[in-house]
Symmetry: C2
Subunit: 325 residues, 2 copies
Amino acid sequence: MSLYGGIDLGGTKIQAIVLEREGQEVLGKARRPTPSDGGPRAVVSALAEALREAADEAEVAPERLEGVGVGSPGEVDSGSGTVSKAGNLPGWAGEFPLAAALSEQVGASVIVGNDVDVATWAEFELGAGRQARSLLGVFWGTGVGGGLVLDGEPWHGRGGAGEIGHMVVRRKGARCPCGRRGCLEAYAGRKAMEAKASREVDRGCNSVLFEIMRERGRDTLGSGVWARALHHEDELAQRLIARAVKALGAGIASAINLLDVELVVLGGGLGTRFGEGMARRVAHAMQGHLFNDQRPPELKVAELGDLGGAIGATLLCDGATARRR
Amino acid sequence: MSLYGGIDLGGTKIQAIVLEREGQEVLGKARRPTPSDGGPRAVVSALAEALREAADEAEVAPERLEGVGVGSPGEVDSGSGTVSKAGNLPGWAGEFPLAAALSEQVGASVIVGNDVDVATWAEFELGAGRQARSLLGVFWGTGVGGGLVLDGEPWHGRGGAGEIGHMVVRRKGARCPCGRRGCLEAYAGRKAMEAKASREVDRGCNSVLFEIMRERGRDTLGSGVWARALHHEDELAQRLIARAVKALGAGIASAINLLDVELVVLGGGLGTRFGEGMARRVAHAMQGHLFNDQRPPELKVAELGDLGGAIGATLLCDGATARRR
């Protein structure tokens, strides 16, 4: 039995698993909130605790794991195991040697990869992209992230590829959280959508969005809040989601016009929450901007769900750049 | 001595050369207009005549050429040597076996490739991209075409990649010659710019653009006409070029945000005519939309000039997919 650890490090939660590789069976799992203060050191302790809990459930000592993979936001240098510019993680300014620090705490070898790349690769190897040679992963959540697999290999360019959220869909358009104008994320990112909803409500627009948020004891408009508001046929929620869908359609079509890959996998908090029906709406919005409109790419919802990031992280231990023949 | 033929088949002109491969020396060249009627058969005759004339100058019989490469607009199937959807070529409806028909007339083996792919590959092998592993070619002319080399290999996706001219830069924006809205080409393509200039002049806008065109005995606003009007500080020409530059900046930045390649090569009729100064303006317009703005790609003007397409076409005879190590 080869047992691997996988950890998905998110801005709000940490998900750890222990996976038995041959049977692809999750033998243990644990989830905990990402520490909101204490910086990288506190994050590393929380990662180690989550991994130990998952290992306990799997009845294995952490130091007996063949390897531990971590999918992290920010700029990741897999070679040195460092993470920098992790803007979604509180107190994470500058570069931090995440792999070395975690390895010291758990006694197993640790390899770190970018979270979006890990999730894209996981869908390619094990999820919605199993039959594909090339795909574009679109992760529709707090921001809009992208990952590419081209002819069976991950594509990173000079290390910064996949920023589909910052493709321009409307020059001189809405202000993006990144500070620029007209990016896809300015229309479709959950953070930008929440800011827009808040402005509209302040201006007197009627909406149940923030009511649902408070009822659920949340302080942000998560994917569940949006889904609930749509269920209530909230006009503002419908309008902002429609606007996001059109922007996603234009941005994804632009990427396809440039790259002509066979498959788009739609994941992320909003993408997986809304599922097939919304994927069809995005595909419809894309269609009107496709140059080769008689041969659209397939558009599928990500299959690995909640544990996808952590399962994908275990694949880092094989070297995620291995070509699949 | 290995002698190859290369032909650049354009919407208005045909350029043929005979190249001595080892020394990269052009031993013969000939140019003639693309027949405006007679369909594919007339085009093939004109291609054969141009090649024979270039071969005469090189003092070689066409049937002694090691091979003849043709860069053609439209959808090209290099395997079968057929060309379809060549909308820029008059009377070219449906699929035509260009390689077989030309080979029969000239007595040498013929291989056909897409004109933009051929020009991109030529810049990679012999031109502005000689030092690069990956690049985006942007051909700014009648339309806006794109070509990709990723990690030393041409990237075609499912055969339709590179349509950077139809990336969306302004959703719900200007109408593109392709019929859609907001494409890069709707702002930067010479054809779209001419239509816009014509509408503005009809509405009473003062401009020397069409005057210069008539003085030169032309019936379209070619790159020389635009250059001349800019030289005269024509307000309309300045405004439309500035609009094109901003759209190019947004579209190219979107492509870089997605792919993060190291180099952009700007070619095409307008790109090469305007040269370095305009390339700097495009780079400046791109900068404001780059996500990794501290590490912009290099942006260079295409180096091979007028004969680039024909020189690139000779490379088809080696198999343009050969990996460069």
